[in-house]
Amino acid sequence: MKFNTLFCGVASILGLMAGQALADTVKIGVVLPYSGGAAQFGEQIDRGMNLFISQNKDAFGGHEIELIKRDSKRPGGDIAKNAVQELITREKVKILTGFVFSPNAMASAPLITQGKVPMVIMNAGTAWIPSLSPYIARVSFTMWHAGYPMGEYAATKLGCKTAAIGFTDYPPGKDSRNAFTTGFEKAGGKVLEALPMGGPREVPDFTPFFQRIKNAKPDCFYVFVPAGNHSVAVVKTYASLGMGDAGIKLIGPGDITQDTKLQDMPKEAAGMITVHHYSADYQTPKNLAFVKAWKAAYGADTTPDFMGVAGYDGMAAIAHAITAQNGKVTAEGTMKALSGWSYDSPRGKITIDPETRDIIQDSNVHKIVSKDGRLMVEVIDTIPQVKDPCKANAIGKCK
């Protein structure tokens, strides 16, 4: 009997200690594409997150964090939704993050509302996503941060009176098309055609679509395709059809000149104008240090890109939220902590808008140039601290 009581006593003390240690660990659910065609994005975001964690161990207020990762494989919603359900019910995570594809974030919104788990979006860019749940905050961008200023810039500074649009047929593509059209037409331009060009899962043969655009003879051709494999095919097709010689300028959001794909593009990419919030070629001290740390951690021939910096900044936001709530993370508390939060990111100053829970950041006009034998991004103009124009102007589904 005595042995039994002793045993019970020791066991319960050990149990209490273990419980205490575990109580401090904040579980973070990460939903990213780790396999399939989009695995490269999952990898970039993952690297950004890990870089922040390794550089800023004390940013979490002394609390341990545990990243529980789930593969969302592809845009389409259902797999991500199941992953989110599992993370909330089985793993009991306190924060959800990741979400490369808009449909995945959209499908998961009802779950996080019901389960009261905050979501920090690290990529998905469809403008009206934060309105789907009161517990969503975004640190990446909206399609309007790039599309709207690009439209204005094309009409006013690039001399494009007419434009044609080619976009991949899914929510971000339609959103980007709307963004560019609104900005372009507001500045006096005319959109001749807006062509859906297949789905995001597989890279289609762009030739028939581009041929049709070429026949329409616009001054500017705005293209939105998902970042990654699609963009290289876009530039190749543009070149093989001789569209540049036909006087059609290729423009778009920075997604199509992602740093990780830039070196795969043919030389005809030089001269492209895009608008975006980040490029690894920015010369600010913070970014130079960031790129250096990235290459040191992951290899000299790797480069961060807008996904990598989103992972980095997203983790900074999460660290702030955990510290502000002293480890007791709730959905309301996290939204409160992030409201108005500002950070000196490698991309410049970013702030989370208290009204919309979306990001405020600079939009830079990029020009692709050929320098030292490689393609590089040069910033030729900046529109500072842009609030998402879709929500600011209450256009369409944006409230």
């Binding site: 490269q40 859906p196 043969d205 494999n229 001789g242």
Partner: protein
């Protein structure tokens, strides 16, 4: 739903460019699928893994060019030969066991092989698409008199037509071709007059796989190459074979042309839902002629 409405002259230019793109795409489909048509006609084996040979061809080409610095044209030939040889053990040790088995078993086995191939390629090369730099003389545009067209696509069409002619000659004018045709028509009869059908089959299988590899290598620049290639384009290869008719080179060529042109035209004229046409057309053709356009009833 935006349909294209253009004035006459523009419509003509548009029509010519659609035709051109469609034919180039069709040539890729033909080169890859013709081997499948022959082997299915010869041995009645539903080999859904045929696309994996094309995929393998594409990746071998990439490795040859990037790691061994082999120039494009030489690499195309090498990859075709390599994959043809590599395919022989598959036939000998795996497929041969299932010739008498039912369709379901053949379908399942070959799907299993595709999964294995896709996973292996992903493991070795990673999940994204791969690209190559084609040589200077094949890039840019070329003036063909009646218009300027992308050089690479012109090259693809030339290769496709040349192969079609070579295959036709080989099948119609040579003894081996005659033997294969005989075996496709009536295997037992052919065997009984002393034709070694098994050896013929290995030959046809290797040839088909080699051609698929060639097609895969050519396809990189036009429709891209990734580990999902075999599964994504599986349906199209099957359509070419089913619509063309098993065992018919002519059938595969015509079916590929129809498929390529209708698909390209569909994307051009009706971008919102262009892919629809292919499947509707396939169903229509098969309902009326279940053995395919040139197949034996």
């Amino acid at each position: 739903m935006t349909a294209a409405v253009l004035p006459m002259e523009q419509a003509l230019t548009a029509a010519i460019s659609i035709l051109f793109d469609g034919v180039a795409y069709a040539m890729l489909l033909f080169i890859i699928s013709v081997g499948l048509s022959i082997t299915m006609g010869l041995m009645g084996f539903a080999n859904l893994a045929h696309g994996a040979f094309a995929m393998l061809g594409g990746y071998v080409l990439v490795s040859l060019m990037l790691n061994a610095g082999v120039p494009f044209l030489a690499a195309l030939l090498l990859t075709a030969v390599f994959v043809a040889i590599v395919s022989i053990p598959f036939e000998r040790f795996l497929y041969r066991r299932l010739y008498k088995a039912g369709e379901l078993d053949q379908v399942l086995l070959s799907i299993g092989l595709v999964f294995m191939a896709t996973a292996s390629i992903t493991f070795v090369y990673g999940p994204s698409t791969v690209s190559i730099t084609v040589p200077e003389f094949l890039s840019g545009q070329i003036d063909l008199g009646f218009g300027t067209f992308p050089t690479y696509r012109t090259f693809t069409i030339v290769v496709g037509v040349a192969l079609m002619v070579a295959l036709w000659y080989g099948f119609e004018r040579t003894i081996i071709g005659a033997k294969i045709r005989a075996a496709v028509d009536n295997r037992r009869m052919a065997q009984s007059i002393g034709i070694d059908v098994d050896r013929l089959f290995v030959l046809a299988f290797a040839l088909g796989s080699g051609l698929a590899a060639l097609g895969g290598g050519l396809a990189i620049e036009i429709i891209g190459m990734s580990p999902t290639f075999a599964l994504t384009y599986l349906v199209f290869f099957l359509i070419v074979v089913a619509v063309g008719g098993l065992g018919s080179i002519r059938g595969a060529f015509v079916a590929a042309l129809i498929l390529g042109i209708v698909d390209t035209a569909g994307k051009y004229l009706w971008p919102d839902g262009g892919a629809f046409f292919i499947y509707a057309l396939t169903i229509a053709i098969l309902l009326v002629k279940p053995e395919g356009l040139f197949g034996k009833a």
